[in-house]
C-alpha cells in the first residue's frame, strides 16, 4: 500500500546516523510490512535499516544472537534455532502470517512494533534479551524493555539473544485464532525448568493478546515453583491465569471469552511440557 505522506528516504551509512534521523522524527523501516500499512498524519522521512549490517544468526555459549534485520523465514530455516527449546520458536513462526510475509518481516521490526504478536510471548518465555541503540549500545531483558515502555522511546533495535535452555526443561506455545493466518484472539507460551529433585526450578507462563502486550502471569509462575508439574499444579496455574490476565473486550473477543481461552491454553501448554519432561 503506497504511503503518500513520505517526504524522504534515508539510506543511513551507520547506526549513529540512523538513530539521529529517528530522533528527529524519521520512521525506521526494516521489512516495512507494518510501516507501509499506516499513513502518517504529516509528511515524514523513512530510514531504511536494511542497509545496515544488522542481519544474521550466530550461536555461542550465551545462546543464539539474532540481528535485527534477520527475517522470520531466516529464523525458521536455521536448523539449530528451529530445533531450540523443543522447536517452540519454529512452531510459533509457522503460525505468523504467511511464508510471503515471513520472507519480508524482520525480528527487529516485529519487536519494535511491540503489539499484536505471536513472537513476543515465546521470546518472553525463553527469557530473551534485546539489544538496542539510543546513542549508545544497550541490552536488557525483553520483559523490562516492554514493562518500562522503552520500546516507545526513539531507539533502534539491533538484535536479540535467546539464552540456552538448562535441561531438563521444556517449552510450548499455543495460538488461538480464527485461522492461523489471522491475528491471535489469545496466545500463550510456557517454559518449565526442572531441578534435580524433580520439582519446578523456574516457570514462565506468558499470555498475550489479552489484548494488552504479552506478559508473565506472575502468580501462576510462583504457584508452579518448587513443586512437581502434576495435573493439580497445572489446573491451579490455569485457573490463576484466567483470573489474573488483564483481559479486555475488543473487536476480536470479549474479556470473558479471553479468560476462558486463557485457562485452556495454559493447561494445554503445561500438559504438553509435562509430557515432554523426563
Amino acid at each position: 500500500m503506497s504511503v503518500v505522506n513520505v517526504s524522504g528516504f534515508i539510506r543511513p551509512i551507520d547506526i549513529a546516523t540512523a538513530f539521529v534521523a529517528v530522533q528527529q522524527g524519521s520512521i525506521p523501516v526494516s521489512g516495512g510490512t507494518d510501516v507501509i500499512l499506516h499513513e502518517p498524519p504529516a509528511p515524514v522521512s523513512l530510514v531504511d535499516l536494511t542497509v545496515l549490517p544488522l542481519s544474521g544468526i550466530s550461536e555461542s555459549g550465551d545462546g543464539f544472537s539474532i540481528g535485527a534485520t534477520t527475517t522470520l523465514s531466516e529464523m525458521l530455516e536455521h536448523p539449530r534455532l528451529a530445533a531450540h527449546a523443543d522447536g517452540v520458536i519454529a512452531d510459533m513462526l509457522r503460525l505468523v502470517g504467511s511464508p510471503l510475509l515471513r520472507n519480508r518481516a524482520t525480528i527487529g521490526g516485529h519487536l519494535a512494533r511491540g503489539r499484536l504478536s505471536d513472537v513476543i510471548p515465546v521470546l518472553l518465555s525463553l527469557d530473551a534479551t534485546i539489544n538496542w541503540y539510543d546513542g549508545s549500545p544497550r541490552a536488557g531483558p525483553l520483559a523490562d524493555f516492554y514493562a518500562s515502555q522503552t520500546h516507545r522511546t526513539p531507539l533502534i533495535v539491533t538484535g536479540i539473544t535467546i539464552p540456552p535452555m538448562h535441561r531438563p526443561a521444556a517449552a510450548a506455545f499455543r495460538k488461538f485464532s480464527r485461522t492461523h493466518f489471522d491475528l491471535a484472539i489469545l496466545n500463550c507460551a510456557c517454559r518449565i525448568d526442572i531441578a534435580d529433585d524433580g520439582s519446578v526450578a523456574a516457570a514462565r507462563v506468558v499470555v498475550g493478546e489479552t489484548p494488552a502486550l504479552a506478559a508473565s502471569v506472575t502468580d501462576a509462575e510462583v504457584l508452579l515453583h518448587g513443586r512437581p508439574l502434576d495435573p493439580a499444579a497445572i489446573s491451579s496455574a490455569a485457573t490463576i491465569a484466567a483470573a489474573e490476565i488483564p483481559a479486555r473486550d475488543d473487536d476480536r473477543a470479549t474479556a470473558e471469552y479471553r479468560r476462558a481461552i486463557a485457562a485452556v491454553l495454559v493447561r494445554r501448554c503445561l500438559a504438553e511440557i509435562a509430557g515432554r519432561l523426563p
Binding site: T33, S98, N103
Partner: protein
Amino acid sequence: MNLRFTVDGVPTTVVIAAGESLMDVLRRIGKTSVKNGCDRGDCGSCAVLVDGRAVNACLVFAGQVDGTAVGTAEGLAHDGELHPLQSAAVEGGAVQCGFCTPGMLMLAVDLLSRNPEPDEAEVRSALSGSFCRCTGYVKPIEAILAAAGTLLERRS
C-alpha cells in the same frame, strides 16, 4: 528519487515516490502480472521475487529494493517456451480466472529453488497466504508437484 534494480533480468531505472510500494511501481512500469488483490498482505496475488525470495510486493517499499534483482511471472518464459511451472498450470487446469496465478507461480519458484522435491504438505504450507477463489487449490498443488518432477528430470 531514483530506483535502480533489475526486473526480470533487465537493468531498470525508475523515478519513484519515497513512499511508493513495489507493487505500484511494477504495475506502473507495465508489469501488470503483479496483481493488486488486497493491497495489505492478505491475498498473495502481488507476490514477486526479491533476490530469489517471494514477498508481497504490496508490503515492500520500492525504495528498499534498490540494487536487487526482482522477478515477476513475466520473466518465467524463455524464447517463447513456457517455464515448466507455467506448462504444468496450463495442462493441469490450475488456471481458471488466472488472477492468483502469477503470484502462485512466484511462490512456487521460491519453494522449488530451496526444496526441489516438496511433498504435498510442503506445497500446501508454501501456498498459505496465496488466495485462489476459483480452483479450490487442488489443481495448483498438483501442478506444482508435476512441475517439480519435470524440473528434476531435466536436471538429471
